[in-house]
Subunit: 411 residues, 2 copies
Amino acid sequence: MKLSKGVAIVGVGMTRFHHKTHAEKTSREIFVEAALEAVDSVDNGIQLGDVEALFVGNFSSDAFEKQGHTAALMADWLGLTPKASTRIEDACASSGVALNMGVFAIASGAYDVVLVGGVEKMRGLGTEEVTDTLAMAADGLYEVGAGFTFPGLYAALATAHFDRYGSNWEQLASIAIKNHHNGALNPKAHFQSEIMDTAIRRGERRGMAFKDEIDFLSSSLNPVIAYPLRLFDCCPISDGAAVVLLASEEIARRFTDTPVYIKGIGQASDTMALHDRADLTMLRATRLAALEAYRMAGVEACDIDVADVHDCFTIAEVLATEDLGFFPEGEGGKAACEGRTALDGDVPVNPDGGLKAKGHPVGATGTAMAYEMYKQLRGEAGKRQVDDVKNGLSHNVGASGATAVVQIYGR
Amino acid sequence: MKLSKGVAIVGVGMTRFHHKTHAEKTSREIFVEAALEAVDSVDNGIQLGDVEALFVGNFSSDAFEKQGHTAALMADWLGLTPKASTRIEDACASSGVALNMGVFAIASGAYDVVLVGGVEKMRGLGTEEVTDTLAMAADGLYEVGAGFTFPGLYAALATAHFDRYGSNWEQLASIAIKNHHNGALNPKAHFQSEIMDTAIRRGERRGMAFKDEIDFLSSSLNPVIAYPLRLFDCCPISDGAAVVLLASEEIARRFTDTPVYIKGIGQASDTMALHDRADLTMLRATRLAALEAYRMAGVEACDIDVADVHDCFTIAEVLATEDLGFFPEGEGGKAACEGRTALDGDVPVNPDGGLKAKGHPVGATGTAMAYEMYKQLRGEAGKRQVDDVKNGLSHNVGASGATAVVQIYGR
């Protein structure tokens, strides 16, 4: 895949991802909050009127809020009418794919400046209803009908990985510990406390003391959700929005002296149902999307200095770091355990806390990853800044891997 | 708007649009039926493996079938994995917008061959539930909460038009009569009988005789749905799918000696709620989308030889023929009444029966229009063929005009 012209990010905005912050808001209000922050963030200024088209990633405002025609509504509330507005739905990869659509739209010559956002307001429903609604992203006839929801599907992937490679739950736990550590450094994250702090706080309430994180995570305070995944292996249910402003390379420097270029993109699909796949220890769509993105960018896995990967469950981060080529097959869990994906490791992964700690308002996750890469590449990520970032990568997955999308960023 | 490269349609497929034909099927099966017909339709042959990406327009399989992640599912069932698959949602304009996304993707240089389809399976729900589900495309806070569903919203547009221009219900009725006439010539249409035939059939059952169509349409057998709109002013609730195969201009002739080029595209948005608009006698988004498409194609309204326009209600066809520039403001109804939009009129509109008679499985409507334009421009539209077609136009609207998309086709 080759594009006719280059595209850069020139501004970003994001609400906090949380389950209470947005309790009184609908998705239109959450989206506008992130979009206005993106507009305000542009170094040399930008007018809303400079934006020529809007792309919105959203999984299911239909089911969550009984509101469809989502993109037009966002254009309306942001004051962007009569500009073209388009909603993209690819499950939890909705805004990662919307980002690629924005890149296509600019590279095609149609537009020079587009706004790409993602939003999801999930917490209007109760936890069980949210789980059922998210399960619509799996195969309704063959998986959901048989009782599967996503914790179960990812538990199946974990079991297959454990079986083939001897990986284990302690490795998964190390990912949760790392991502909560990073989330504690991110003022926009859903969870902003180290797991040990949580252990102490929750333990005190019940008269329990834990000698370390694993002691707490192995306890009854971290119940099994779907074996081998426990509560802290799962991302929370959050509301939120994230927005990026894209400009064609010819005019990007009009808006900022330090644009972040999208140097490679890739997207692939796989069977909806896990039972149709030859191999459950990897996501083929991730591998193919990454291959495409690496080729377009002219870089390899070893050139990536920081990555945001799709860790809806801790096992998903293991699979991602292997499928993206950061570590050999079967060694993603071990690498995490050894600290190689920590902020000061050889490939820092999910410096913002990842879906696990930052939160996962599903339609907003892809653009939230681009938000983080923009901050990291410009050296503006504050306490969670990774040293000396030249190339960044974001990796957004739909459902249990029937969609995957990868972007590579550079200066 | 200018594109880096041209795009052509090289094959099309479509299921019948109907409420019973697909009763036992889910949307995945309906979609595959249309997609395989499109693949088979390619003059010089095409392999499914030649398709590099899939774009699917769909309003709400989430709400209609409790199935999201719709594009990946279609890729899976069509056998297109691991190719990139993307769902577009812009209410009833979903696949019209998906068509533009396919054009962007090719013009960007990313792909050479893409498959763009639309699908909706609505009839798993009852009529009232369908009406409520479709209402999710209006403003949930300010319109639906006040009791509006789409017949009411379009009735408001009709009332405003009647008031300003003195247009009337008999003019609307003439559109229903024309579109049922055209539908009777289209083997894929939902309704395939002239209104007079329906009048005789229904009249006989009740011992009633009607002297002409207006006599029948004014009777109790055509009840008021939302004043001034009666039953036959409204499109039916149908299931169906339509698919087009797009190729870059460089390689289009590899697949057929008579590709149909997409010479102009346009898209615009408007406020979701009618009460926020300055003028209810036109759809501003249609006007702006048309302006963009005419400019790109280098043609004017008077150059259009045939058009498929969005007639979800008869009044919508009046607005469309004015907003697209076929007739002066306020004269669309009169022009229809005078036969100027008939198959042998000066601008034949909805030769396939339109949404009114062909049916309106909402997500499939945009690509079904492209299907018709492909047939018309190649002279393959059978009994409904319009003479001497050089330029065609399709016009697809989301909701009450918060989205509009226009394409112009040429040889």
